[in-house]
């Protein structure tokens, strides 16, 4: 961090503007006409019942899926092949068959970080997620919680402007979940925009600044976290919070 020059392009990635976004598979409109803007700052948490289209929306934003129609507009458009300024953490972390630290340096290499800086930056990231002592362990034999922390370290080392998280704690126990949440909080504090999908309403309450409630492929409601849980504006959101909608 210290002696390094900030080589980030001066133009911020954010805000991210989605215009009339749709994702259709056969007859199903998985994403149905979504137009929103996500700005720098608040942690945006996307909640909603199963099949609402949350994960698909996240993948479209991150560029892993192409929308059927509509526009994903970043303030500073990404250049194909150039280092990415956004990262994503998935529900099930994918680790390469190499050591924990090598998984991080691999990501740094792809991002064009000079060879000499990679090890230091990777070690720093591992320390921040509490995995420094496991740096040389094979990544795939780490526990589920450790692998997810490693996935966060890999993302953090890249110093992304935006971090997408797709139910990062869905398959973890409460202890591991707590650790993941602390790391996400710290990343947010270090200036990374957080966009997270979660099934866990407690987590949405703990980590979110604003809630985007999805239902049937649409954003049914968008509100500050306190207001959303106190007095949801839409009947679907009220039902969802009551636990009447499946999630």
């Amino acid at each position: 961090m210290s002696a390094e020059v900030d080589v980030r392009a001066p133009l911020s990635l954010l805000p991210l503007r989605l215009e009339a976004l749709a994702f259709v598979v056969g007859e199903r409109r998985i994403i149905d006409d979504i137009s929103i803007e996500l700005g720098a700052g608040p942690r945006s948490v996307i909640v909603g019942p199963n099949g609402a289209g949350k994960s698909v929306l996240l993948r479209i934003c991150h560029g892993l899926l192409k929308p059927t129609s509509g526009v994903v507009h970043w303030n500073a458009p990404e250049i194909p092949g150039a280092p990415r300024r956004q990262a994503m953490v998935f529900q099930r972390p994918m680790m390469l068959r190499r050591s924990a630290i090598a998984n991080v340096t691999y990501a740094l290499e792809v991002a064009g970080v000079p060879r000499g800086d990679r090890a230091l930056r990777a070690r720093e990231a591992l320390e921040r997620v509490g995995l420094a002592r496991l740096a040389d362990h094979p990544a795939r034999v780490l526990s589920g919680g450790e692998q997810q922390r490693l996935a966060l370290a890999r993302a953090w080392a890249l110093r992304p402007e935006v971090l997408f998280l797709d139910e990062p704690t869905a398959s973890l126990d409460p202890g591991a979940t707590h650790e993941i949440e602390a790391i996400v909080r710290a990343m947010h504090e270090s200036g990374t925009k957080i966009v997270m999908v979660t099934h866990n309403l407690g987590q949405a309450r703990r980590l979110g600044d604003e809630i985007l409630f999805m239902h049937h492929g649409r954003i049914a409601e968008r509100a500050a976290v306190g207001r959303f849980f106190r007095q949801p504006a839409s009947p679907e959101a009220a039902k969802f919070i009551e636990g009447e909608l499946p999630w």
Binding site: A87, L96, R98, A107, P138
Partner: protein
């Protein structure tokens, strides 16, 4: 029965005594098949990886053809390579028919589809698991193929060893393009075929033992390598 026992006894003697003819035949076999498999791996693995991670028109057809070539009869390969390399053939100018080089060419043609088809399958299965994460990191297809080749190296070694097993054990292709010339192109399988028909069972059996031992050793090595890698890397 006693004839077989006597032949087996004599065969063991040949192997243990390091019979020069036996050694010459075995070493030519190894040289030819290892060279062929090295070329097949150098071309087939990247080819398999490239097909696995890329999308192009006619991809399905390529895969079907590649898989069909897995069952390619070695005599047919021998015949095709023979036609290519014979004096009147398109590659006749090289003049390598009935030399070990021709045998390397034939076994390369025989094992290349095997390496490419099986590695394509293994890599494509892994790609389903790796794709989103690698694309998220901004990994382009060429680098993804290399990453997968390295990450799956232990599974791929097994494929290469299987290809070697096929090469060293086949008789049809090397017989046709090599001609089984004593001291020049005689390998284990062609020698076994010849000695058996001549009735020289000890040499045939001795070579059979060696061939079996090589194939067995290769497969155990592959198995051990894969297991230890799985324990270490998960």
């Amino acid at each position: 029965m006693t004839g077989i026992a006597a032949a087996a006894h004599e065969a063991v003697g040949l192997v243990r005594g390091g019979d020069p003819e036996l050694i010459r035949i075995v070493s030519l076999s190894l040289r030819v098949s290892l060279s062929a498999v090295a070329i097949a791996a150098a071309v087939g693995l990247p080819l398999g990886a490239a097909i696995a991670v890329s999308r192009f028109a006619g991809r399905k057809t390529v895969i079907v053809v590649l898989n069909a070539l897995l069952g390619l009869p070695s005599v047919v390969v021998g015949l095709l390579v023979y036609l290519l390399l014979s004096r009147a053939g398109p590659l006749g100018a090289f003049g390598i028919l009935f030399t070990p080089s021709a045998m390397v060419v034939a076994q390369t043609v025989l094992t290349l589809p095997l390496v490419a088809a099986l590695s394509r399958q293994v890599i494509e299965d892994a790609w389903a698991e790796y794709r989103e994460q690698l694309q998220s990191l901004g990994v382009q297809n060429a680098r993804a193929a290399l990453t997968l080749l390295w990450d799956l190296r232990y599974s791929l070694v097994t494929i290469v060893l299987a290809a070697f097993g096929r090469a060293v054990a086949e008789v049809g292709a090397v017989m046709i393009v090599g001609g089984n010339i004593d001291g020049v192109t005689r390998v284990m399988t062609t020698a076994i075929a010849l000695e058996t028909s001549k009735g020289d069972l000890p040499l045939a059996l001795g070579l059979g033992f060696v061939l079996l031992a090589i194939v067995l050793a290769m497969n155990s090595a592959a198995q051990l390598l894969k297991e230890s890698a799985q324990r270490r890397y998960g």
